[in-house]
């Protein structure tokens, strides 16, 4: 039951993009086509889960016992950056097909604040455990995927719409994101 609540909260109520504002750069940047947004979502799911697993273990077994919790930001970003690099090398060797699909998105993910944000937020969960932290990361990446794919399919339709000249580009995209966020606000109080 607890896990179902985490899932619903992360996907709908506190959606990582639309209500917590993490991962806005890829949300605005790679959302012009549905196919690229699916690829990006897959890459984020992959990296976010592994990164949270690694940083949780690092925090629990290295930083806390040695009293160096203040080094959290530095160590986490380094772990994430090297992990992304490693995932890229391993994928290339083990599964070229998957690499073809996710490859271009991997380098972009290092500076995706959603990954670092979820890794830090996962430490603050109530009665936290490793399993819960990893589940939290998966739930949040599903939320990310949902927001990104819905937004990309709206943007595909916008291409054909008749928009006032000044609103074209960034302003209309932000407005659409605002309306989408408003729709997600309706889930408040669900859990």
């Amino acid at each position: 039951m607890e896990y179902i609540i985490i899932l619903i909260a992360a996907v709908f109520v506190n959606n990582i993009v639309l209500s917590q504002f993490l991962g806005i750069c890829p949300f605005l940047g790679v959302s012009n086509k549905v196919s690229t947004s699916v690829g990006m979502s897959g890459a984020v799911l992959f990296v976010m889960t592994i990164a949270t697993l690694a940083t949780y273990l690092l925090h629990e077994f290295v930083l806390v016992p040695s009293g160096m919790d203040y080094l959290r930001t530095i160590t986490f970003i380094l772990v994430i950056a090297s992990l992304v690099q490693m995932v890229e090398i391993i994928l290339k060797k083990v599964s070229p097909a998957l690499y073809q699909a996710l490859g271009v998105f991997l380098p972009l993910i290092t500076t995706n604040c959603a990954v670092l944000g979820v890794a830090i937020l996962a430490l603050g969960l109530e009665n936290g455990s490793l399993l819960k932290a990893v589940f939290f990361a998966i739930a949040n990446s599903i939320g990310f995927a949902l927001a990104l794919i819905v937004f990309a399919s709206i943007r595909e339709h916008l291409e054909l719409a008749n928009i006032p000249k000044g609103m074209k580009g960034v302003p209309i995209n932000l407005l659409v994101a605002g309306l989408l966020s408003l729709a997600f606000l309706g889930f408040t109080g669900l859990v």
Partner: protein, 201 residues
């Protein structure tokens, strides 16, 4: 004289022509995430300005020592060190702001504005130009965040910098201090900014 003029342009480009928020769309997460009031926007802007300035100074000073292949990780470590300093100072001296900004303080590390300036500017230019670039970009970012924060605070809670100008029981547009308001307010501010900057140039 020509050099002086260039430095002035170097400073001004961050505020108007290449404004990090309205034109380059860098650092959008903190821009949207913490601007529910003008004070928060200003605080985040100054924290980012400090990190940007220090990282630009350090990167510019040691640029010749960093091997090109590992420059990005090296920049990230430099930035992360200053972010940790900001985190500790804020927690100790301004705990109220620390609470308000929350997760977005450690996330200054992944603010693409800072890494972007280190890579695109400080690693290629001398100390003085890098300082001026950081000040211009940082002030441009701070102005944008404060403007957005002020707009949202005026519409959403009927106050500015916590000074209320409507009565206690007045109905304000609460939407603007909620997440959707951030996107909507930024959309119209960008529109206005584009309009003004195309007219003047």
């Amino acid at each position: 004289m020509a050099e002086k003029l260039n430095q002035k342009q170097n400073f001004l480009k961050g505020i108007i022509k290449d404004n990090p928020v309205f034109v380059m769309l860098l650092g959008m997460c903190p821009t949207l995430g913490v601007t529910s009031s003008a004070f928060n926007g200003l605080g985040m802007g100054i924290a980012t300005l400090f990190v940007l300035l220090m990282s630009n100074i350090v990167v510019s000073l040691i640029k010749s020592q960093i091997p090109a292949k590992v420059r990005i990780p090296a920049f990230i470590i430099i930035i992360a060190s200053f972010v940790t300093i900001v985190e500790m100072v804020l927690e100790a001296y301004i705990p109220f702001l620390f609470e308000q900004l929350g997760i977005f303080i450690p996330l200054i590390v992944v603010n693409c504005l800072i890494l972007g300036r280190a890579e695109a500017f400080a690693s290629k230019n001398n100390l003085i130009s890098s300082i001026i670039d950081a000040l211009g970009m940082g002030i441009g970012f701070t102005i944008a965040l404060t403007l957005l924060g002020a707009a949202r605070e005026i519409l959403g809670s009927g106050s500015i910098f916590d000074l209320r100008f409507v009565s206690e029981d007045a109905n304000t547009m609460i939407l603007f201090i909620l997440p959707p308001g951030a996107f909507i307010a930024l959309a119209y501010l960008t529109l206005a900014f584009n309009r003004i900057s195309t007219k003047t140039s």
